[in-house]
C-alpha cells in the first residue's frame, strides 16, 4: 500500500497547487507533499534493506533494493528542491506573477510523480511510458524562464530525448517478442530474468543496443549528450537539481536493470559495451570540463562524467564493482544536488552564469562560497567525501578484476576532470572580489536547503548508517544474477 501512497501524494499535490488559496499555498503544498513522500520512501527503504521485495500490485508495482535506493534519492532531492524553490520564486517572480508560480509548482509535482513511477513500476512497457513522461513533464520547467536560450534548450531536450525514447520503445518491444516466444511469465524485470536463458541472443543483443542508444540519450552518454548541458544549465536552479541530480540516474537505472538479463549469454559481451560507452562519456566530459565558461554547464558536464563512471563500474560486473556502482549512484545524487543548490545561490548573488565574472565569492558571501567549495571538492572526488570513496572502490574493483587498460584510462580521465573542476571552482571562490560593495541577502529557505543538502555530503564520506549500507548491498545484488 505504501508504494501506492508514494505515487498518489504527488498527483494530489499537483491538483491542490492549482487552487487559488493564499499567497504561500503552492509552496506549502509542495514542501509538505515532498516531505511526506520522503518519509514514506525512508520507510520503504528500511523495509527493503533486508533484501525483501515490497509488492503493491503483483506484476505491476513493486520495489526491491535498487528501486528503494532510487525512491530514497528522489524523495530527498525533491524535498530539498521544493524548499529551495520557495526562495527562488521569491527572488525571480514579482507578486503579480502568482499564476506562473502555481503553474511551476503544478509541473514540479507532476515531474516528481513521473520520476517516482520509474523505479516503482515493474511492468517494463509502463516503465517506458514513465521515462517518456519524465521528459514531457519537465520540458516546460526547462523553458520556465522563457528566454530565447531557455526555449532553445527545451526544444533540443524534447526532440532528442523523444527520439531516444522511440528507439528504446522498439528495443522493449523486441525484448517482449523474445520473451513471449519462450515463456508466458508477466513482462516484468523478474520475469525477464527468469526467461533470459532461453531468449534468442540475437534478439537480446538488438534489444539491448536499441535501449542503450535510446535511453542513453536521456542519460547523457556521449555522443548523444548534446542536449544535456543546455537543458541542465538553462532550467531554473531547483529544476537543474532534479534534472542533474536524479533524473539522469533514474533513466540509467533502467539500463542497469538489463545487466542481469544480459548476463545469461556471454556472446553479447554486454560488459564491454557498458565499459566502452562509459569510458567515452567520461573522456569527452573530462576534456569539455576544461573549457567550460558557465558554472552551471560545468556541473552539467560533470553529470555526464559521473554517468560514465557508473556505466564503467556496471560493466566490470564483479560484486565489488556493482557495490561501487550503487554507492556512486548515491554519492553522485546527493553531491550534485548540493552543487546545483550552490550554483543557484550564486546565480542569485552574481546574476551571471559566467565563471570569469565571479571572483572572491568566499568574501562576498561566505555561505555560498563555502558550499560551492564543498560541493566542488566533493563532486570532483576529493577525500573524505562520498564520491572519493565510491570512485576509489570502483577503481579497486576494476584492478581486482584485471581490467587494467579501462581502469587506467578511467583514472586518467577522473584526474583530468578533478583538475578542471577545481581550477574553475578555485577561480570563483578565491581571489579578490570584483565588486565588494553589494551584498545580496539570501532568502532563509535557500540557506536552509543549502544546510540540508550539505549534511549527507559531509556525512556519507565518513559514516554510512547500517540500514543504508544494507540497502546499498541489496541494490548491488539486484544487479547481479
Amino acid at each position: 500500500m505504501i508504494l501506492i501512497y508514494i505515487l498518489i501524494i504527488p498527483i494530489i499535490a499537483s491538483l491542490l497547487t492549482v487552487l487559488p488559496l493564499g499567497k504561500r499555498w503552492p509552496e506549502g503544498v509542495s514542501i509538505i507533499s515532498s516531505l511526506l513522500v520522503f518519509l514514506l520512501s525512508i520507510k520503504t527503504a528500511i523495509s527493503a534493506s533486508d533484501g525483501s521485495v515490497i509488492t503493491a500490485i503483483n506484476g505491476w508495482i513493486s520495489c526491491d533494493g535498487l528501486s528503494a535506493l532510487l525512491l530514497l534519492l528522489i524523495g530527498f532531492v525533491s524535498l530539498v528542491s521544493s524548499i529551495f524553490s520557495w526562495g527562488y520564486m521569491e527572488k525571480h517572480l514579482s507578486q503579480r506573477q502568482w499564476r506562473k508560480k502555481r503553474r511551476y509548482y503544478y509541473r514540479l509535482a507532476l515531474f516528481v510523480f513521473s520520476m517516482l513511477c520509474v523505479p516503482v513500476f515493474s511492468q517494463i512497457a509502463l516503465v517506458w511510458v514513465a521515462v517518456e513522461l519524465t521528459t514531457l513533464f519537465s520540458v516546460f520547467l526547462v523553458s520556465f524562464e522563457n528566454t530565447t536560450d531557455a526555449l532553445e534548450a527545451a526544444w533540443k531536450y524534447v526532440v532528442l530525448t523523444c527520439m531516444g525514447a522511440a528507439l528504446a520503445l522498439i528495443g522493449i518491444l523486441i525484448l517482449y517478442w523474445g520473451m513471449r516466444a519462450v515463456s508466458s511469465e508477466p513482462f516484468t524485470w523478474t520475469g525477464l530474468i527468469h526467461s533470459s536463458d532461453t531468449i534468442a541472443p540475437s534478439l537480446l543483443k538488438t534489444a539491448f543496443l536499441f535501449i542503450l542508444v535510446g535511453f542513453g540519450t536521456k542519460v547523457g552518454l556521449v555522443p548523444l549528450h548534446t542536449w544535456l548541458p543546455d537543458a541542465h544549465s538553462q532550467a531554473p536552479s531547483p529544476v537543474c537539481v532534479l534534472l542533474s541530480g536524479i533524473e539522469t540516474t533514474t533513466v540509467l537505472y533502467v539500463i542497469l536493470r538489463l545487466i542481469p538479463v544480459l548476463g545469461s549469454s556471454p556472446s553479447i559481451n554486454a560488459g564491454n559495451w557498458f565499459i566502452a560507452a562509459g569510458l567515452v562519456s567520461v573522456a569527452v566530459a573530462a576534456f569539455l570540463l576544461i573549457q567550460v565558461r558557465d558554472y552551471k554547464r560545468l556541473f552539467a558536464f560533470s553529470t555526464v562524467e559521473h554517468m560514465g563512471i557508473i556505466m564503467v563500474a556496471a560493466g566490470i560486473g564483479t560484486a565489488s564493482a556493482r557495490m561501487g556502482a550503487t554507492y556512486q549512484i548515491l554519492a553522485h545524487s546527493i553531491t550534485k544536488s548540493l552543487c546545483f543548490f550552490a550554483a543557484g545561490a550564486l546565480f542569485i548573488i552574481a546574476e551571471t552564469r559566467e565563471i570569469g565574472s565571479v571572483r572572491g565569492l568566499i568574501r562576498t558571501s561566505p555561505l555560498t562560497g563555502a558550499s560551492l567549495l564543498i560541493g566542488g571538492l566533493a563532486i570532483a572526488g576529493a577525500p573524505p567525501f562520498a564520491v572519493f570513496l565510491s570512485e576509489f572502490s570502483i577503481l579497486k574493483a576494476g584492478i581486482e578484476a584485471g581490467r587494467y587498460i579501462p581502469i587506467s584510462l578511467l583514472l586518467i580521465f577522473i584526474i583530468t576532470a578533478f583538475c578542471a573542476v577545481m581550477f574553475h571552482i578555485n577561480s570563483m571562490v578565491f581571489g579578490r572580489p570584483s565588486n565588494s560593495k553589494v551584498t545580496v541577502q539570501l532568502p532563509p529557505s535557500i540557506i536552509l536547503s543549502l544546510v540540508i543538502a550539505v549534511v549527507p555530503v559531509l556525512l556519507f564520506g565518513i559514516y554510512v548508517p547500517v540500514k543504508l549500507e544494507h540497502l546499498l548491498i541489496n541494490a548491488a545484488s539486484v544487479l547481479g544474477r
Binding site: 511492468q123 512497457a125 509502463l126 517506458w128 511510458v129 517518456e132 513522461l133 514531457l136 520540458v139 516546460f140 523553458s143 522563457n146 528566454t147 530565447t148 536560450d149 526555449l151 532553445e152 534548450a153 527545451a154 526544444w155 533540443k156 524534447v158 526532440v159 523523444c162 527520439m163 522511440a166 528507439l167 520503445l169 522498439i170 518491444l173 523486441i174 517482449y176 517478442w177 513471449r180 513482462f187 534468442a200 540475437s202 534478439l203 538488438t206 548541458p229 543546455d230 544549465s233 538553462q234 569539455l288 573549457q291 567550460v292 565558461r293 554547464r297
Partner: protein, 225 residues
C-alpha cells in the same frame, strides 16, 4: 476472409505505410508532411485491425480504434489549433540535404532496416512479422532522419510522431498481446508529445518570431567567431 487474403492485405497496407513514410521525407511544405502523417496513421490503424482479425484479439482492435482516434484526428486538430499559421504556411521547409539526395538516403536506410530485421527473423517467424518488423524499423529510421535534416519545428514534431508510428507498426506484429493498459498509456503519451511540442513551438514563435529551430544554436562551449 481467409488468413491468406488478410495477410496479403496486410502486406499491401505495409507497402502503403512505407510509401507515406517516404512521402514525409519528400514533401516540401509542412501541410504536405502533415497529410502524409495522417495517411500513414490510418494505415497503421488498418494494419492493427487486420492483425486483430487474424489473431482474434480484442487488444489489437482497441489499439486500432485508439490509433484512429488519436493520430489522424486529434493530433492534426491540436497541431492546427496550436501552430496553425506554421502548419498552413506555404513556404518551403529549409533542410540540410536536398530532396533527391534525401530520398536516396531514405532508400539506403530502408535496406539497412531490412538487414537488421533479417538478423532477427528466423524461419519459424510468422509471415506477418516478416512484413511489419522491417517496415516499422525503416519508418523509425526515416523519422529520425527527418528530424535531423528538417529544421522546422512542426516538421520535427511530425518526425518524432513518425518514429512512434514505426515502433507501433512493428509492435502490433511482434507484441500483439501487450497489456491493454500499456497500449492506452502509450497512445496517451503520444498525445502528450504532440501537445507539449506544439505548445513549445508556439512559445518559440511568440518569443523568437521563427520556428526554424535548426537555426537556433546559441548555446555552445566556444563563442561563435
Amino acid at each position: 476472409m481467409t488468413t491468406a487474403t488478410l495477410t496479403q492485405l496486410n502486406a499491401l497496407t505495409g507497402g502503403l505505410f512505407l510509401l507515406c513514410t517516404f512521402g514525409i521525407v519528400a514533401m516540401r511544405q509542412v501541410l504536405g508532411i502533415l497529410k502524409m502523417f495522417i495517411l500513414q496513421s490510418i494505415f497503421l490503424s488498418i494494419s492493427a485491425f487486420l492483425l486483430g482479425y487474424i489473431h482474434m484479439s480484442i487488444h489489437l482492435f482497441a489499439v486500432a480504434a485508439l490509433t484512429l482516434m488519436v493520430k489522424p484526428l486529434l493530433i492534426p486538430y491540436l497541431l492546427k489549433r496550436m501552430v496553425g499559421n506554421e502548419v498552413t504556411a506555404r513556404r518551403e521547409i529549409s533542410q540540410l540535404v536536398d530532396i533527391p539526395s534525401s530520398l536516396l538516403i531514405a532508400v539506403l536506410l530502408t535496406i539497412l532496416s531490412y538487414f537488421i530485421a533479417n538478423h532477427l527473423l528466423s524461419n519459424t517467424t510468422p509471415i506477418i512479422s516478416k512484413v511489419n518488423l522491417p517496415i516499422g524499423l525503416a519508418c523509425l529510421l526515416l523519422g529520425a532522419y527527418t528530424i535531423i535534416v528538417r529544421q522546422e519545428a512542426v516538421a520535427q514534431t511530425i518526425g518524432i510522431l513518425t518514429m512512434e508510428n514505426g515502433a507501433f507498426f512493428a509492435g502490433v506484429s511482434i507484441a500483439p498481446d501487450l497489456p491493454l493498459i500499456a497500449e492506452v498509456a502509450a497512445a496517451f503519451d503520444v498525445l502528450i508529445i504532440a501537445i507539449v511540442m506544439g505548445l513549445l513551438a508556439r512559445k518559440i514563435y511568440e518569443k523568437v518570431g521563427i520556428t526554424t529551430v535548426g537555426e537556433m544554436n546559441h548555446l555552445r562551449e566556444v563563442e561563435k567567431l
